[in-house]
């Protein structure tokens, strides 16, 4: 499975960059050509990502389509990329949202070329984050994504763009530089324990799974856990590190908002699933009550603050803070159902909030204001727009039948189960409070709808306003399709990620030596030339498929099988090929 050399994922990462380079040579005056070319490139990227989706095999938590090429061998850095169930949908989401936001961006008139180049570069950075399997490579993409985004806010932003983009950049940069320090500590620790100095995430996770990496270093583990987790909390953003988000969202151009809400925030939740749980199992369990309480506060706080915003974009931004709380909720419930809900809610948030920002952007292009005071009575003038907006809003509220409901329900139910069982210091109070958050979401989102669409028309500008054009309806329609699809038949999305999410859960929950790994195989050829089982837990996929997850905290359904397996492997069974 693992190939040395560049493959389809490298192709995926390279296409937007090559496209951006091509665009540099198109003269600024041919703006139609620039727009067309950029959209064509993002269509190709989307198709490649769908090809990857097609090649992806569900049913294993191992990394797939892994490509690795030595990059800076003297520093232990490799170019290593691959996908698993957690990242596959985020990749498709990224390519899809980039395409849609580029199509919307045909509205852009100022510095067209720079704009499209930046969006394409941003696309590569985001895809890189979701595919990187080397910590330094991950960090590289994680940080690279800041620059185009900050520049987008800076150049095409609103009146307060200066402040917003500087805050965005410095906030996230400050948090993640400590993650870099943490990465170096992990690599040093790994070198100390195993003698191999590497930033390869798969190898490091294997060392964690065997319990070697953090043996006798629980204090260090806690410290490094927080250096990673704070970086992801800022990115998410999670209360109390959310303050950059409303500013950035408000000032960003529409495409920037869509990408920011749809994909950039997911880097945080992805980081929780990719690093915080698998790399620091004990520390993650220890930190669970803190994170859950912060998420609970975030849900309520985000909802209350959103309710009083006079600016429609800011309202949606604060609603993001609340919605991302549910994602954290699911992930840190350590419950199969809850974690599935968290991972799924991350996707849904991308769809529903992306749709809301797109619709607000379409409205802004017509009336050039985002204030509620200038709106009202739009329903009569723009019936199609109102209908689509209603759908997007209800998806965000979590109406059963639409995608938002599935994610939120699973996350809360999982958290409730864990809390009922009394795991990790959780109390049933938390999901109850979070449930109030769902009600509040309905309150402020319905208010928003009321203020925008009902009542008398106060703004004379609105008298001449035109409804959506066909291509705009088609653009929003793509989102609507996914809202219904995700709500009515979520299995399409849930199934492929299920095993990987469960893998992350077991990586965090199981005792050392029972943790699964991302390694492609657990067999290795030793110096005598024999094939040896290196990790006991790695080949338990087949086992897993026969199990049902009965209740949280239980290791494996069929105890006998697993103990049998352990016994077998503890004597380092040599297997002949």
């Amino acid at each position: 499975m693992e190939s040395t050399g560049f493959g389809i994922i490298s192709g995926l990462l390279a296409i937007p960059v090559i496209g951006a380079l091509l665009l540099m040579f198109v003269p600024e005056v041919y703006d139609k050509m620039i727009k067309g070319l950029a959209i064509a490139i993002s269509v190709v990227t989307l198709l490649v990502s769908l090809a990857i989706l097609q090649q992806f095999r569900p049913g294993t938590y191992h990394m797939q389509l892994v490509e690795s090429v030595p990059w800076l061998p003297s520093l232990g850095i490799t170019y290593k990329v691959g996908i698993d169930g957690i990242s596959i949908w985020l990749i498709v989401l990224t390519t899809l949202l980039t395409l849609l936001s580029l199509v919307f961006s045909t509205y852009i008139k100022k510095r067209v070329k720079t704009y499209f180049i930046l969006v394409l570069l941003l696309e590569t950075a985001m895809l890189g984050v979701f595919t990187a399997l080397d910590m330094v490579l991950f960090y590289t993409f994680f940080e690279v994504s800041l620059v185009p985004m900050a520049l987008m806010i800076w150049i095409w932003g609103g009146s307060n763009r200066n402040y917003a983009s500087a805050k965005f950049f410095i906030y996230t940069f400050a948090a993640s530089i400590f993650m870099l320090l943490g990465m170096i500590v992990i690599a040093n620790q790994h070198a100390q324990v195993t003698g191999v100095f590497t930033f390869d995430m798969v190898q490091i996770q294997a060392a964690v799974a065997s319990g070697k990496l953090w043996a006798g270093a629980s204090q260090l583990q806690n410290l490094i856990f927080w250096s990673f987790t704070v970086a992801f909390m800022v990115k998410c953003p999670m209360f109390p590190f959310h303050t950059w988000l409303p500013d950035a969202h408000t000032e960003a151009p529409t495409a920037g908002s869509i990408i920011l809400a749809g994909v950039l925030l997911k880097m945080g939740t992805y980081g929780f699933l990719r690093f915080s749980l698998p790399f620091f199992p004990e520390a993650a369990q220890l930190a669970t009550p803190i994170l859950m309480w912060l998420a609970t506060i975030g849900i309520i706080y985000g909802a209350i603050v959103a309710a009083v915003q006079p600016d429609v974009k800011k309202l949606v931004a604060y609603s993001s803070v609340a919605h991302m709380g549910f994602v954290i909720y699911g992930i840190f419930s350590f419950n199969h159902m809850g974690m599935m809900g968290g991972a799924y809610q991350a996707l849904n948030h991308g769809i529903s909030t992306g749709a809301l920002f797109l619709l607000i952007g379409l409205l802004y292009e017509r009336i050039h204001t985002r204030m509620f005071a200038d709106m009202g009575g739009l329903k009569a003038k723009m019936p199609i727009f109102a209908a689509l907006f209603l759908l997007a809003m209800l998806s965000s509220v979590g109406l059963p039948g639409l995608n938002g409901f599935v994610g939120e329900f699973l996350a809360m139910a999982g958290a409730f189960q864990s809390a009922q069982a009394g795991f990790f210091g959780l109390t049933p109070l938390m999901p109850v409070i979070a449930g109030i958050g769902v009600i509040l979401a309905a309150v402020y989102l319905l208010w928003m709808f009321q203020k925008v669409f009902y009542g008398p028309i106060t703004n004379p500008q609105l008298e001449r306003i035109k409804d959506l054009k066909p291509w705009e309806i088609a653009l929003v329609g793509v989102f609507v399709v996914f809202m219904f699809w995700g709500g009515l038949y979520p299995n399409t999305f849930l199934k492929p990620m299920e095993i990987s999410v469960e893998g992350a859960r077991q990586m965090a929950l199981n005792p050392p030596n029972f943790r699964p790994t991302w390694q492609d195989r657990n067999l290795e050829i030793n110096d005598k030339g024999d094939l040896v089982v290196v990790s006991r837990s790695a080949d338990q996929i087949d086992l897993y498929q026969e199990l049902e997850v009965v209740r949280p905290g239980q290791l494996y359904g069929k105890r006998q099988r697993s103990s049998l397996l352990v016994q077998e492997n503890s004597s380092q069974t040599k297997e002949a090929r």
Partner: protein, 530 residues
């Protein structure tokens, strides 16, 4: 009788050829200046660049050559020195190539700039290729005196004059400290050789000897001034701001690299009394980073902000150096070399872009003068953004690679405090670098009225080289080369260093492993003073 006491050492001219080429090119440049047509420096520019290119070409084959000394141990050629010389020559080349159009804009196109810059370069090269304090001092003075003049190149401008005078007075003061320190070293050891100094420190009461501490303190002050460490940094912002931009570029790269090269050797020689200066230097390093970045936050002039940023970056280099000195197995001089090389490209590139803002005699380096640069000169503006991003240390630029390596060294060497201070400073510094980026993109009314000089071929060339220079992949080989650099410590470990004046036999050569051989080409009777 005399000839029996002093045998004339046989001299290996290949070691000193690069300096000689640079110095002679300077002389030729001066001669051309006498006969050239009025106000036309083209011939001088061409000759100077050719001379630097020649020196570069002469240095390349010396990479990886065994460590050798000549001139009775006064000139030393080792991997460290050769790499730093390459950086110095490259830095001088890059800052000379965009100078002419800039100086024409500012009406200061004096032909003597080029010879003086070349001599300064030769001084810098000498400084990094000797382990004799006296030679280091000679190199330093050749570098500094030329720089004092260059800082005042815009002679009818008050600020430039102020810069020159300030630089001269404080620089002379610091030189005196250094010389006093050298005198103490001579008094203790009877020699100015760093090897002998180190040997003496290892044997003698060392830390309990007050004269030793006094000598080291004086040396630290002298080099602290040259490398612009807090609290000896006060001259930097004024001089950086006042001096013409091309001189600032030259100074920020060449003078810094040379000073760090010599400083590294001196510190390494003082390793036996490490417990005396290490805590002090850790504090100084943290202060240097922090003060540099905090002061840069509030500047209104880009050149001045970059002056403070150079102080901060001196702190970053110090972190790498201290990590190496603390634990030579974990840290490496390769990191120091790499960071200095990366910094050279970043800083010269930034100043090269800033040289565009000089129009009609005025300097114009306030933030407002950069407004709308993106519309007027997209290449320059794009490069400036790249350099700023690299100075912040955002991947995938070389600035990130350098910082990453420093982090790694500091963590490995057990100096997490320095690593954390560096991390905090990185994001503090992001603010003012981003302000520079922002200024480039401002396109409100008024921004369109800002003028800037037209692009020119030299600048374009310098920018492209610098932009390529901040691509990290280039530095991976340097880094691994630097990691194999045989340093003083390793030589001392093997005992080769101390025996160098007398021994000519390689020590314990292991089969299959390349061992640096110390083969002095002269009898070297002069250094055995003790």
């Amino acid at each position: 009788m005399q000839s029996e006491l002093y045998t004339i050492p046989s001299i290996d001219w290949s070691l000193v050829m690069p300096f000689i080429v640079v110095v002679i090119t300077g002389v030729i440049g001066l001669l051309i200046e006498m006969f050239r047509p009025k106000q036309n420096n083209n011939a001088i520019v061409l000759v100077s660049l050719a001379g630097l290119a020649g020196a570069f070409a002469l240095l390349i084959p010396q990479l990886g050559v065994t460590t050798t000394t000549t001139f009775a141990g006064m000139v030393l050629r080792d991997q460290f020195g050769v790499l730093l010389q390459l950086i110095i020559v490259a830095g001088a080349f890059l800052s000379l190539i965009f100078s002419e159009p800039y100086m024409k804009q500012r009406r200061i196109a004096h032909g003597e700039f080029y010879p003086m810059a070349l001599w300064a370069t030769s001084g810098a090269m000498l400084m990094v290729s000797s382990d004799n304090l006296l030679m280091i001092f000679v190199g330093l003075e050749v570098l500094s005196i030329a720089l004092y003049c260059l800082a005042g190149l815009a002679r009818d401008e008050q600020r430039s004059e102020e810069a020159a005078l300030k630089y001269f007075l404080l620089g002379a003061f610091a030189s005196a400290f250094l010389l006093y320190g050298i005198a103490f070293v001579y008094g203790i050891t009877g020699s100015t050789s760093l090897a002998v100094f180190m040997e003496t420190l290892a044997r003698a009461p060392g830390i309990n000897d007050l004269t030793v501490l006094f000598a080291i303190t004086l040396l630290l002050v002298g080099f602290g001034f040259k490398t612009a460490l807090v609290p000896f940094h006060q001259w930097t912002p004024d001089v950086y701001q006042g001096a013409p931009t091309n001189v600032t570029a030259f100074m920020s790269a060449v003078s810094k690299v040379a000073a760090f090269g010599a400083f590294a050797r001196v510190l390494e020689a003082s390793l036996p009394v490490q417990e005396f200066w290490m805590p002090a230097l850790i504090v100084i390093t943290i202060l240097t980073m922090t003060v540099g970045n905090l002061a840069a936050l509030v500047q209104k002039d880009v050149k001045r902000a970059l002056g403070y940023s150079s102080i901060a970056h001196a702190g970053y280099v110090m972190v790498a150096l201290l990590a190496y000195l603390q634990d030579p197995a974990k840290g490496s001089l390769g990191t120091v070399i790499t960071y200095l090389a990366i910094y050279t490209f970043m800083t010269i590139g930034s100043f090269a872009v800033l040289s565009l803002t000089a129009v009609n005699k005025s300097e114009g380096t306030r933030y407002q003068d950069l407004y709308g640069l993106w519309n007027r000169a997209p290449l320059a503006a794009g490069c400036l953004v790249l350099f700023m991003v690299s100075l912040v240390g955002v991947p995938p630029t070389a600035g990130f690679l350098g910082k990453f390596q420093i982090f790694q060294d500091a963590m490995g060497a057990g100096l997490p405090l320095l690593a954390i201070a560096l991390a905090i400073n990185s994001f503090v510094s992001a603010y003012y670098y981003l302000q520079i980026v922002r200024a480039v993109f401002v396109d409100e009314e008024g921004a369109l009225r800002v003028q800037s000089a037209p692009m020119n071929a030299g600048l374009r060339f310098a920018l492209v080289i610098c932009a390529v220079g901040v691509m990290p992949i280039l530095f991976a080989p340097i880094l691994s080369q630097g990691k194999q650099t045989v340093t003083l410590s390793k030589m001392i470990e093997s005992g080769a260093f101390l025996q160098r004046p007398v021994a000519s036999v390689p020590l314990n050569p292991e089969p299959g492993e390349k061992v640096e051989q110390i083969t002095p080409s002269a009898p070297l009777s002069t250094v055995t003073g003790n």
